[in-house]
């Protein structure tokens, strides 16, 4: 077993060797700009890109024409929200989203609020799920769009997209979902779920980085003004030369994800539950953040009371895990997602995210459990808070010298 053991599958995933193999000819043998329709190199590239597009569409039950390639889910989210606002925003200036969304969704909304849009940020329940009644209550005549992520990147919680889609469709409001974490991992049918626009990532499903997609519904038609204008590639929705090898890899990754989804989900769910239950059985005061079952099979987010997160990360350096989301883990701020669940700052500070995936082995799972148990116990021995709790002190009654 190689250490550190990679347990950060929500940040990014290793490229599947089969994806590498599929990309290789397009890296090493076949040059060509898929937009040059006038020579053979261009044709071959175009065909490969269209196969990839079809593979991606199939995962979500969409038509290939509804798939727009982008540089990644961040661009897709920016495009979905800012682009829809550009189109529909003249008379409808209200957007509903959720406080636990990915930063790029929140940031796109913030950008729009500076331009006169009114944004409702819905809170979530303690388990990370959205109360649908709160969504219904927030809808207004001028609501343009609802943007709710499918699966959360930090706590893995899966929102009831089908129910949200139905509410939005009934209200005549466009529905965007950030499916960066769920695409290829959970069954998605954009028609059944009434999704109008969906953001998709490649590097979260064992495909290459630097590429993603936006699903844009054709019937009833969803309109998105491009944020990258120019040569008019991607049906005029997103200009710029497409990176053929990356798209081929993305397409292959989508194909594999769909084929192996059920088996992988089962395997990872067992692993996930083993990790959670073993740790919780062996040591007290360990809390699972996010709903216990309505969550990604590959996501575990635990708070270890009386142990500080960063020192725990250092202690378990043989495990590549994260505290907070990858984008913010270098900062000292506690995760906004965990705070939205009602966690106090000190609990938010003691949490780590373990992401398991396709290449995680049973041996690695056992090693992770042992490593965590041993180090949490060691750090608790070193923790003045743990000592006080053992002595029966109620920490909430202590007057701390804030600094």
């Amino acid at each position: 077993m190689k250490t550190p053991v990679y347990l950060d599958y929500q940040a990014t995933t290793p490229t599947d060797p089969r994806v590498v193999e599929a990309m290789a000819p397009y890296w090493f043998e076949k040059p060509g700009n898929p937009h040059s329709r006038t020579h053979a190199f261009g044709w071959e590239a175009e065909e490969a890109v269209e196969t990839a597009r079809a593979n991606i569409a199939k995962v979500i039950g969409a038509d290939p024409k509804e798939i727009i390639f982008t540089s990644g889910a961040t661009e897709s989210n920016n495009m979905a929200i800012k682009g829809a606002a550009e189109f529909y925003g003249t008379d409808k200036k209200h957007i509903i989203t959720v406080v636990t969304e990915h930063k790029c969704v929140l940031d796109s909304c913030r950008h729009l609020s500076e331009q006169g849009f009114d944004i409702t940020y819905l809170g979530v329940e303690e388990d990370g799920l959205l109360d649908l009644q709160k969504l219904k209550d927030a809808l207004r005549d001028d609501t343009m769009m609802v943007s709710v992520m499918h699966a959360n990147n930090e706590i893995g919680v899966i929102q009831d997209i089908k129910a949200i889609g139905a509410i939005c469709r009934e209200a005549g409001v466009k529905f965007h979902t950030d499916a960066a974490q769920s695409f290829g991992k959970i069954a998605i049918d954009v028609n059944d779920m009434n999704v109008d626009v969906m953001s998709i990532s490649s590097h979260k499903i064992y495909g290459p980085m630097g590429v993603g997609a936006l699903y844009v519904r054709r019937k009833p038609r969803m309109r998105v003004r491009p944020i990258i204008s120019g040569g008019g590639q991607e049906r005029g929705m997103r200009s710029g030369t497409l990176p053929t090898p990356l798209l081929v890899g993305f397409g292959k990754a989508a194909e594999l994800a769909l084929a192996e989804m059920a088996a992988e989900d089962k395997r990872l769910t067992q692993m996930r539950d083993k990790i959670i239950h073993t740790i919780q059985d062996k040591i007290p005061h360990v809390f699972l953040n996010g709903h216990a079952t309505k969550r990604l099979a590959g996501n575990i987010n635990l708070s270890f009371a009386y142990v500080e997160g960063e020192s725990l990360m250092m202690a378990i350096k043989d495990l590549a895990v994260s505290s907070g989301s990858a984008c913010t883990s270098a900062s000292l701020e506690p995760s906004y997602v965990l705070r939205a669940l009602g966690l106090s700052d000190d609990m938010a500070h003691t949490s780590i995210r373990l992401g398991i995936g396709r290449f995680t082995t049973d041996e690695e799972v056992d090693f992770a459990i042992e490593t965590i148990l041993a180090n949490v116990e060691k750090l608790r021995e070193m923790s003045p808070l743990w000592e006080m709790v053992q002595e029966g002190v109620d920490l909430s009654t202590v007057q701390w010298a804030e600094h």
Partner: protein
């Protein structure tokens, strides 16, 4: 976060972890920080009748730098008189551990913990 070898050494092999009897009149206890800030440091000194620190122990809830800072602080304290101990500055700790700028507050906390422990001891002595 890239830590210096010294931080890693103190973090992996912390010196003087543990507790002294806080009821003992020769023991001074300093508890600083707050869980919400991500750092709580408990530092204890045991002082001889001649005013020399004979033993020092710590328990810290905090990042690697906070643990290393308190571990180093206990090492520095041992054998010092109370007056000498008062002279220990956070910069001494930060420099010794080569703390990055974002972690300087850990050394500040350690200095505060030393002062709090000394104050506690002195108040017990009624001085």
């Amino acid at each position: 976060m890239a830590y210096s070898d010294k931080v890693m050494d103190h973090y992996s092999n912390p010196r003087n972890v543990g507790s002294l009897n806080k009821a003992d009149s020769h023991v001074g206890t300093g508890m600083v920080g707050a869980p919400a800030c991500g750092d709580v440091m408990k530092l204890q000194i045991q002082v001889s009748d001649t005013g020399v620190i004979e033993d020092a122990k710590f328990k810290t809830f905090g990042c690697g730098s906070a643990i290393a800072s308190s571990s180093l602080a206990t090492e520095m304290l041992k054998g010092k008189t109370l007056d000498q101990a008062t002279e220990i500055k956070n910069s001494d700790i930060a420099e010794e551990l080569a703390l990055p700028p974002v972690k300087i507050h850990c050394s500040v906390l350690a200095e505060d913990a030393i002062k709090a422990a000394i104050d506690d001891y002195k108040s017990k002595q009624g001085a």
